[in-house]
Symmetry: C2
Subunit: 324 residues, 2 copies
């Protein structure tokens, strides 16, 4: 059995060893730059850990793991361009370091490279792996489209929001686990169970991200606290506050959202006063706990030796504690 750290180490080594052509540099330099930015590489690590549930030999999971990481980085690259984000992992985004056309085309080639790596497996489940991957990749695009749609809407419901984060974030975590299992020749049902585990874990993870964005400690969260509030993001917290508040407080909240000239610190404070009045922090915490419990239950229900599950169990807990 490998540990999370060993899985991440293996992924790092494999990504560092990818040899891309030098020409055309305008196409491949941004790909190398993007893959070199690192990150926690949770998804490919999950592919390996999931494969390792069923087999000591995880070689057939390496290609799909790298493919999923390349795909994830491709979506970040294009999302950053569409959202006009300036910084990714502490470095300039590709469309600013180069230009928008370079970001489009380098992203396109990463999407294809992802497919090429997914195919690098001798598993007899190649077709099932590809089906899971393609279905998931399409859903991630759907999630990004909903996310962009929601920016200009003020009537997003909780269920619409949950569906959006399911598509944009959870399905890829879920598919990482399913594909890892399939690459180690697990049964389709075992793959589905791991998918469900990952889906619920992914929901808990994304909601916790929302919670930490407003209530986290800047130091341990690693991002500036309050960014979602400043950019009027319709997160679970904001939608709940709009739903739960009195007509007067709702009116006040919308006024704060619509105010063009604001002092950042004051806006964050004013919004959080309303959040606190309606206990939306507790609402989201309950939701996170519920998803997390379903995730653990799903993992426990999978019929493999208990001791093989400990790495994923620990990982789940670490993910929620954000200390890995």
């Amino acid at each position: 059995m490998i540990s999370l750290e060993q899985a991440q180490e293996r992924i790092k080594k494999e990504i560092d060893n990818i040899r891309l052509p030098s020409e055309p540099g305008g196409l491949y330099d941004p790909v190398k730059y993007t893959l070199g930015l690192g990150g926690k590489r949770i998804r490919p690590a999950l592919v390996l850990l999931s494969a390792n549930l069923f087999s000591e030999n995880i070689d057939d999971a390496i290609g799909p793991a790298i493919g999923i990481e390349i795909f994830h980085n491709f979506t970040l690259l294009h999302d950053d361009l569409m959202d006009n984000s300036e910084i990714r992992r502490g470095q300039k985004t590709v469309h600013l370091k180069w230009n928008p056309n370079t970001a489009i085309l380098s992203g396109d080639v990463m999407s294809i490279l992802a497919n090429e790596f997914i195919c690098k497996t001798a598993s007899s489940n190649l077709k099932e792996i590809l089906q899971a991957f393609n279905r998931t990749a399409i859903e991630v695009c759907e999630g990004q489209m909903y996310d962009m749609d929601f920016e200009s809407r003020t009537d997003v419901t909780i269920s619409e929001y949950l569906e959006m984060i399911r598509l944009k974030t959870s399905v890829l975590i879920a598919a990482s686990l399913e594909i890892g299992a399939l690459s180690a020749n697990a049964t389709k049902n075992q793959g589905k169970d791991l998918y469900e585990y990952g889906l619920n874990l992914g929901m808990a993870f994304q909601l916790q991200d929302d919670l930490l964005d407003s209530y986290g400690d800047t130091k341990s969260f690693g991002k500036k606290v309050g960014n979602d509030i400043l950019t009027n993001k319709k997160t679970y917290l904001m939608i709940s506050a709009l739903n739960e508040s009195s007509p007067a407080d709702k009116k006040r909240l919308i006024e704060i959202l619509e105010e063009k000239n604001f002092i950042p610190e004051k806006k964050i404070k004013d919004v959080k006063l309303i959040f606190d009045k309606y206990s939306v922090k507790e609402l989201i915490q309950n939701k996170i706990d519920a998803y997390f419990q379903i995730a653990l239950k799903k993992l426990n229900s999978i019929s493999i030796e208990e001791n093989r599950k400990s790495t994923l169990q620990n990982f789940s807990q670490q993910l929620m504690d954000r200390n890995f």
Copy 2:
């Protein structure tokens, strides 16, 4: 044996029958719009004709054929955005009808849909088909990057230009034929021979496109003649003229290219005077003929019954005569 028209008819029917989700509309409406614009659908027709060389049952070639057509349309969608083109097949381009972000994301999902369709085959050559497809898709991106790079360069050589059109245009025509053969369980070598046939046919086709852009008849060519000259494209004609001309004529040609205020008709006339002085029309015609002869020779060398080859032989001729 099916005819080219029957192949195109079958492709049209299959594309019309694709059922995409209705939501999110911002993602799928542009995909439906793009696929609905039609076009000659040469590439998927070639997949079917190639499969038909080896098997009367071409069902296992349908998925890959549609996948290749969706991929081709995806590249046009993103190319139009990158080139800021306004019209595609007589209609507004996606980034203008919607917006750039919609064009990026709809293109992304088309690229994944292409992969999904490629996988819809029961052929035992699925892995080989995917390898051929992914390798080709990457090359098409490389071709587009070189094409964009060349815009700002004045020192593009003939061999660089030929390599660019090989990547941007020829390899996908070649892979269509290879993948059709593989989907009908042809041998790898038969696939490679058909690839070489398509590669040379694709080179002849693209060079003829360059020739017609400057010397074609507007009516039968279907596009405005002289567009490449007006946009200073470094085509085979232009590069040859720069190579072959006297120092004085070369200086004159560069002056014409650099002139910001020009009368379109006069610019076309002046450039073509230099083209004619150095017989670049004949140079390109010789090059087209050479590629076309190699293509036919490759097709003839493939060890299958002669009568099965007639559809592709006729198609090759029709492609050069531009009357299909």
